[in-house]
Symmetry: C2
Subunit: 267 residues, 2 copies
């Protein structure tokens, strides 16, 4: 989402129209993000504020994927979180048990915490010192914040692993199969009928390649054209922005093997 | 100090009397701590509150040692800090320039930050992203807080190094030669005429061994007798607490080689 559909709190130019246009052509959509510190409800409201109307079921965040994963694989576990309230909203919604205090936790779930205090770090430290295993929604090192590049989940993880000597048992975010499967489940489609559009080679394009989706890199976020062309990941298309998907669509509809042009738009 | 002279905000039993008794015998004293988030003035007030009267010049903290080091070796440098106000108090007192904003910093100086917020972490991250080198007052992973073991400087360091990919250029705290020299300078004595008394094998006893001081481990803090006896560091004496120094003194006065008993007090 961030770097693809919007930048900070502003939609990428043409994003809303393009999404409408895709819907008009009967395309199913899912909005996939490594953000784990907001709930889908909050994400839906953020998108609506940019003129992009999305159903909650079309949104897949690491917060909701973490909640579903814990409910499915560790139903009896008590979870302590190091992260913002949106993560706990999704955990509660899924019926995951939140530990009453750090020392009671079976898992520490770490995500971005923009409301972080020393007490939050210390509670997380104590959870792990008392035996909680560490799960992370993602391990991104930085993200484009409103006022510049900002420290991301890897900072929260680094604080806890450096002081407890423990490692992260499971990281959920893109390019994991968990995220790919959550997206495919939401779409109800096999991967070869899906196109992943994203700004990150390492998370978005890698996820697409691993899971057998078509891939389009946009240049409105973390990657440059030079990086994309030098990368072994070789996105199927490199687009200036999400708005260029309109030009891409006729090509993908008739896609045959590697006949397509990797650069779909003029500079 | 913490674990040797006091525990949290309470003096170790007999500490104040023992310090008076040592002064009465003409012993010079220095109070040495890896704490970098308080100023010497604050430390002096804390000790006074426990009935222990100390001159500011008798206190050596990593905050004051960092300030002196920066003033001496990097006088023109602008310093950004990730830590509590006490660190900045010592920097200002020494005439070190504090950077006006993170991106202007030549050095990021990290210490414990019990007032930590996400903004503090993000500012430190941005300082290093913009070229600031990393210095740490110490790299302790945990300390005995008022309500239990608490996350220490290594947490703050871990957050920044994990996200910037940079490493710490210099760590100042015990058992470094910088701390040993600062203590010896304050005492005006050669190391062989000094006894270091501390609760940590790795920081206190190691500092004493490295610098040629006599060493006494107290069991009121982080180390147990079993750990001490198993350690290759072999403290010269193992004492129940600082109060047992009175029994130790006649022995040290007549110390000859390794004739002394490593366990100076009955259990």
């Amino acid at each position: 989402l961030d770097g693809t559909v919007y930048k900070g709190s502003n939609a990428v130019a043409g994003a809303a129209d393009t999404i409408d246009w895709l819907r008009g052509r009967g395309k199913r959509l899912v909005f996939l993000s490594n953000r784990g510190n907001i709930s889908r409800e909050r994400c839906q409201a953020n998108l609506a504020g940019m003129g992009i109307e999305v159903e909650r079921e079309e949104i897949v965040l690491t917060s909701s994927v973490a909640a579903a994963y814990l409910k499915r694989h560790h139903e009896a576990a008590a979870v302590w979180t190091l992260g913002d309230e949106g993560l706990r909203d999704e955990l509660r919604l899924a019926g995951v048990s939140l530990a009453a205090f750090p020392e009671a936790a079976d898992w520490l779930l770490i995500t971005l915490c923009e409301t972080l205090t020393y007490t939050d770090l210390n509670d997380a430290f104590r959870a792990v010192r008392n035996g909680a295993k560490i799960m992370a929604t993602n391990a991104d090192r930085m993200f484009p914040g409103q006022d510049g590049l900002s420290i991301d989940v890897a900072g929260m993880i680094g604080a806890i692993t450096a002081t407890t000597g423990q490692t992260v048992e499971l990281t959920l975010g893109k390019p994991s199969a968990l995220m790919a499967n959550a997206a495919l489940d939401a779409l109800g489609l096999p991967p070869e009928r899906c196109l992943i559009v994203g700004d990150s080679l390492e998370s978005d394009i890698r996820l697409g390649k691993r899971s057998g989706m078509m891939t389009a890199l946009v240049l409105t976020g973390s990657a440059t054209r030079e990086e994309a062309e030098a990368s072994r990941l070789e996105p199927d298309w490199i687009c200036g922005s999400i708005a260029d998907l309109r030009q891409l669509m006729p090509t993908t509809a008739n896609r045959e093997g590697d006949q397509h042009d990797r650069t779909c738009i003029p500079d």
